[in-house]
Symmetry: C3
Subunit: 309 residues, 3 copies
């Protein structure tokens, strides 16, 4: 990382990504050995992190908190800061951040519904700020675990055919993954969605500028042909106000869809899903979305371990 | 326990209950000695539990969390998972459970408003699942602390006259306690309630099948005669939708009621109470409901210590 | 302190305040040294505190929790006990407190919207109860950190000219600070507010009885002249039901106001602010409200360390 905060995954160069993934691998290995694991559990015993969530999240918050605890850190947690905090009294996020800085936290993990709010917090913070998702903006630890998952399976992040499906316009995970893949040579992206939810122009411009090829499609099964990675997402209803007419339509991966997917491919999803991958797919070895979620633990341990020194 | 999860108290045989109670006693002793207590506080330092509460609970959550911490475990806590989690986005409990499994929790403690939801979670979980109450279903750690409280006072769980009062139809604590007492010889149960809230047939059938005698009564004070244990409960208004006409009526234990209760008897209540035992009763040595709550700490320590190996 | 609970800051004599401030200074020093900090982080490893917040609060809860963790204690936390607990089922605070006492907490930190509720809890508690704010009542750790902040800057708590502004009638911080300053010789207080929000008579009587001089003013800038301490507060809208017509009016400290404030003076605010001190003031060295908040960490560490022995 170029600076002490983690605001976007874009700031990672391929070299830095590689170093992070090696750190995550080391964390994974450490956890398999009881003696090493107990030692790690006191490594940062004098440190605390604060998790400040202005929006619901089970998986992100709990994996960050589990990661912090496995490193020996204490966790002060706020499940719904919008409702249960001085934010309810009208305090700005910069004031809240400046106060939390006074309490000696080694990192402050923030989720916020407004794009840019976390960067605003970082602008006044001595303590490292971790963006755990800011509206339509970024969710870098998710992007990093996505990338890590692909890297672990293929040993590379270049020359991959990656199909992305769902709400590509608003989905921060697919937008961010596309930007990271554009840093590597020879990737080809296939965007499967409804026309009104297709990948936005800003991302397409980055792809074009970096020579990363892409195509759009509304034919899911045809798109799967020769894919290495299928990255599926839900239609984020909470971001589609008043657009209830849009449904996941034909974009459901079920047992039948598996016939169109290569043996060596992987099926990813940032979760939660709400039907766009049916449960009968879970047992298929190509379906690695739970393993993918689990990679978040090691990535978050590596991030915290690296940031709080 | 026959398996790694704790879903109902029924699964405990008398031998297993005895072993659990001895484990709880050992925990109690350990906490009285500073050196032993500090040692215990690092025993499971490399482990974390997740408490996932889809429904309010101060006492169950806080005693499980205190228990975990006294054993050295870290706790990732969700106070109201229904509102502040991916459940709000429509995720199933099995998906949530599978994700939490990826984060290396040594146990997942779940409270859920729907009967059976916790068992569903357990069906996909490698990590031990602890049912901390599932609607009208079970609340095994409560039943175990109830049983432990009786065992500590009388040194036995057989040949007891046990009066149960309140909402027996819907109350999971009384239902569960009746089932456990049916595993022992010579117990006699007296059910005191309004006709419409009397003990349900499924429990009565178990009692009959095991030769455990019982009677129904609507005369509280008469029922108290010769009782060893009086287990009182509130009318759980949150389970009685649209039945506001039912009140605790005559079933309030107050100072006057104490005259009808034997010297050696104990008065229990799972708490919270909302008037069905008046505060003037608290000072009476037979009133042991706070001590009963406290037994929950040792039982939960024993459960966690036994499950996370 | 005269007793094991911390209910009001009034109970501290000047000698006890001095001892507390020295304890807070020692905590501050300990945290600057890694070895000492790590030792401290296991000092109370066998202890847990419970934070029970019936009302929103980021700063108080998170600083108490961080303080507890820096001393090695575990924290069981309830962010919004009104909604997510047995209080929702109608349990009294004394019952809740008696149950929490059974779980072996070394301290219970309570915020409650009703004045007197925390004292009620203390009346049945063996475990030390810390009042973290009870409605219009007290918020002693805030008053102690305010006093500590003044003491650190001036080396004394007597012979000070202290201007207090904002909602003096309802603001518990200004009321409490006035009472503490009345214990020392030679202080002069200037109360700046709208007539309907001026300092209440009970406080004025204490000032008169102790020979502490004071004046009322509605001229902010004139009041600042020769002041040592300017303690500014917001109009607590949540306490002013139906009085929406009252605004912070002329009582906003902005860059221009700084001209009227002495070089050696300090500008304090309990935070959160909602406009009554503009952000352009933050960079001025006299503006110490964030540092003031930070002093809360050391005061809370000293309190917890002193109470849980």
């Amino acid at each position: 990382m170029n600076n002490k905060h983690l605001l976007t995954a874009d700031e990672f160069s391929p070299e830095q990504l590689k170093a992070l993934f090696e750190h995550a691998d080391a964390m994974r290995t450490t956890l398999t050995d009881e003696k090493a694991r107990k030692e790690l559990a006191t490594k940062h015993i004098d440190k605390q992190v604060c998790s400040l969530f202005y929006e619901p999240s089970t998986r992100t918050r709990s994996s960050f908190e589990a990661a912090a605890m496995k490193l020996g850190m204490g966790v002060v947690s706020t499940e719904n800061a919008s409702e249960f905090s001085s934010a309810a009294k009208g305090e700005t996020i910069t004031d809240t951040t400046q106060v939390l800085n006074q309490y000696g936290f080694s990192a402050i993990i923030i989720r916020h519904p407004q794009t840019g709010a976390v960067a605003e917090a970082a602008s006044v913070s001595e303590a490292p700020i971790i963006n755990a998702g800011d509206g339509k903006g970024d969710h870098p630890s998710q992007s990093l675990l996505d990338t890590y998952t692909i890297y672990r399976k293929f040993g590379r992040l270049n020359n991959l055919r990656v199909v992305m499906g769902g709400d590509l316009r608003n989905g921060r995970t697919v937008r961010s993954l596309a930007k990271i893949l554009a840093k590597y040579q020879g990737n080809h992206l296939v965007f499967v969605s409804l026309p009104e939810l297709q990948m936005a122009d800003d991302i397409k411009e980055i792809l074009t500028a970096t020579g990363t090829t892409f195509e759009e499609s509304s034919e899911m099964e045809q798109a799967f042909k020769n894919a290495d990675v299928i990255y599926w997402t839900r239609l984020q209803k909470e971001r589609l106000q008043g657009d209830a007419s849009i449904s996941s339509g034909g974009f459901v991966i079920d047992k039948n869809s598996l016939k169109y997917i290569d043996e060596h491919a992987i099926i990813m999803h940032p979760l939660p899903r709400v039907g766009e991958i049916t449960e009968e797919v879970d047992a298929d070895p190509r379906a690695i979305y739970f393993e993918q979620a689990g990679n978040g633990l090691y990535i978050r341990m590596a991030l915290l371990d690296g940031m709080v020194c």
